[in-house]
Amino acid sequence: MTLTQPAPTTAAVPTVPARGMLLRQTRHELVGLVRTPVLLFFALLFPLAFFVILSSLLGNETLDFRSGVRLAQFLAPAFASFGIAMATLSVMAIGFAEIRFNGVLKRLTGSPLPRWVLLGGRMSAGTLLAIGATVLLLAVGVVLYDVQILWERMPGFAVTVLVAAVSFCAIGLAIAALAPSFQAAIAIANGVVIPLAFLSDLFVIGELPEWLDAVGWAFPLKHLVNALGDGLNPFLDTSGFYLDHLAAIAAWGVAGAVVASWAIRRDAVRAERGTRVRHPAGAGGTSRAAARQAGRDAVPRRHGRPAAAALIVDQVRHANTLHWRDWSSPFFGIAFPVLLVLLFPTIIGGADPSIRLEVAQTIAATMTVYGTAVIAYVNMPQGLAEAREANVLKRWAGSPLPSWALFTGHAVSSTLLALLVMVASYALAVSVYGIVVPPSWPSAVVVLVVSALSFAALGMGVVSVVRGTQSALAVCLGSLITLSFVSDIFLFGVDFPPWLDALAWTFPLRHAVNAFGDAMAADASGVVLGLDHLAVIIAWGVAGLLVVLTRFNAEPVHFGRRASRGA
């Protein structure tokens, strides 16, 4: 066979100009961001929501704060900093981890795209998003809350935003490159930003204990918050350039870049040696329990249809294992609320033991309910949505497993985890702050069980109606966080406008917080069930259940679309 082939050339082939590639890559990443609503939500709306809610609630005259300065003037730069961190650190960590674990990075590595263009494109997109978040926040501040922009300091302000955005991108990249799994990257990114926010003069009003203050200064976010804050502080006479803050932020950026480049190179070396990036967590090693089970696996499990109880127990166990093997669920549902039980009394109460005790007594209750909501209304439904997306639920639907066993199993699993949050929160609050567990605690357990089941039904209801996995997460998490502000969880002892007060009472979260809190109040005794609260909680649960029963579909997308292309 004779084949005429063009002679191979090494010269004279024009390469694509790098600048064009970078622009194109940046645009590609921006389109990707815009099409991922959950990332936009966390980078743009989440900080904005905090800012608007706190400015509205605290910005009135009843709260005399920092010698008469308009509060929003300080809140705006603080939440702009938060937005910058979310837009860069979180988005970078989550986005890069995603392409690292789904094979896109591997494909790109085999293409002519230079790595610096890939990383540069992502960083540029993150930086633009950070700028967008900052501008949006300041604009809302100017329009709604009379925030003054000090124009002569804006060059310094802009440089600070840029340095911070690039540095935080590098840190996010390091997290993505180090994380052992995609889930882990999400958990670490959020697990870094949110606790840092508490240490960085963001959510906390008032003075931090000295040691927490010192810990905060070791991290870049506090430097950013203060650099931007001083840049907008009309009572200071400065240039807007704060070299100490900039140096601290940049140092973290350089450290992040060094770690990231080391970790990315490590991945390449591993790939060359044939080691998979996803190293098997717990693969191969047979635990004693597994070995014990293995003997039983050699014989058929049963003869005759399995009992309902056996099906549910299997489903509960399955959902529980799923929860614990996922990084983010135990963190956000259990560790994070319990951590706040530990931190909040010290942060708010400071050195005064009576205030600390009072706060601890309240916060143990609110965080138990908050953790319950995260587990039953966010994490568990998210797991179901992911299983549906992967067609796992379709496989279940083709098996003899009745759907009631699936739903009951998941709801019961969430309830058991909620009880665990309660035990952990109170164990900690009792041992550290000496709070009281009243004799009416069994009533609280009843309230918590009812609430967990209702939240689970509601979460599954959302997943039944909202078919996209990411959209479902955004709806569940967004509604929970928003409601938490008006349901005596993140803010208490605040006077709401009457309409907001009434609105908040129509949702189940505030009822759960108050019913549980009443039953766990230090002076409570006897049966404290708060039947009016329970009625609202149960009504919402029943509504959620009805939606599940009428609307739930085990398949990921509308099958008409699939089938028109499918075989």
Partner: protein, 312 residues
């Protein structure tokens, strides 16, 4: 006794008639392959039988059940391996198989199933550490652990390497020997020829052919396919007239012959006389694939199976 009966089944999505009046019967212990290009309606038809889709019209019966209303009692007796379905990656192979086994009245032993699909070495490994082929075998394991009487396999070996495919075939053969009735869809002709007692070819929602692989192959006629390449400087027009006439398939010259001995003799004599080397000279019997391509407008092209090769 017909285990699966489909009569005049229709299913549309909007204007698209995915399945447009198909009928077939599958007997107890029979293995039947549904063949067809992408979009032929294979998966839709199978998903109606599995109970995932409601039909627009027609009669469907599997094991005496209407799949649309058979419910749990029906699903206890069938096994399904979907075309694409993921797993909860956090679990081990054994954990998932064990959980699935717990759903059926008479499951197979978990260890036995893990061995049957060849995952014994990976039994306690997390699913996320499995390769693509191993994940597909886990899929197969979940489909057979309930010891189904009827097994639906939607493209069971797509993505397998050749040895994994052979093992999957052996597994299907074993299930057939154990008395399982199997309906599978596939793109691979050799898979259908190897596994299926009978083949149903679908195209554009209709059954275009049905029968044993041998019966279908015979439909293409008794002609033998002769193919070879010519050097660049030889004009195909200079060749003697042979068989049904010459046809260019890519760079290969192909002809069909009812008298292969005489035609090959004429061809090689001409080549020797003109001092022309016929590269890749090949004689092949018409395969199921040839029939398939003919029936489905040639949407898939692969090399015919060689039965005899005359090398230069």
């Amino acid at each position: 006794m017909a285990v699966i009966e489909v009569t005049d089944l229709h299913k549309s999505y909007g204007d698209v008639r995915a399945v447009d009046g198909v009928s077939w019967q599958i007997q107890l212990k029979e293995v039947v392959a549904l063949l067809g290009p992408n979009g032929a309606g294979k998966t839709t038809a199978v998903e109606v039988l599995e109970g995932y889709r409601h039909r627009d019209s027609g009669e469907v019966s599997v094991l005496g059940f209407d799949p649309a209303s058979g419910g749990r009692a029906y699903r206890e007796r069938i096994g399904i391996v979907l075309q694409e379905a993921g797993f909860e990656d956090q679990f081990t192979v054994r954990e998932l198989v064990r959980l699935q086994a717990g759903l059926y009245p008479h499951p197979r032993p978990v260890d036995e199933v893990v061995d049957m699909v060849g995952l014994e070495e990976k039994a306690d490994a997390r699913v996320k550490t499995l390769s693509g082929g191993q994940r597909r075998r886990l899929d197969l394991a979940l489909g057979i652990v309930g010891d189904p009487e009827v097994l639906f396999l939607d493209e069971p070996t797509t993505g397998f390497d050749p040895s994994a495919r052979r093992r999957a075939w052996e597994l299907v053969d074993r299930l057939r020997d154990l008395g399982t009735t199997i309906l599978l869809t596939t793109h691979y002709m050799d898979e259908a020829e190897h596994l299926a007692d009978r083949v149903v070819v679908l195209n554009k929602g209709k059954v275009v052919a049905e029968g044993t692989p041998e019966h279908l192959a015979a439909r293409a006629g008794a002609e033998t396919v002769v193919s070879f390449r010519l050097p660049d400087d030889v004009d195909p027009g200079a060749l003697p007239r042979l068989g049904t006439g010459l046809e260019m398939v890519g760079t290969t010259v192909q002809l069909r012959s009812a008298q292969p001995t005489a035609d090959v003799n004429a061809l090689t004599r001409w080549a020797l006389d003109h001092n022309v080397e016929l590269a890749d000279l090949l004689l092949a019997r018409p395969s199921l694939e040839d029939v398939y391509l003919e029936l489905t407008d040639g949407q898939i092209a692969e090399a015919p199976e060689a039965v005899e090769a005359v090398d230069r």
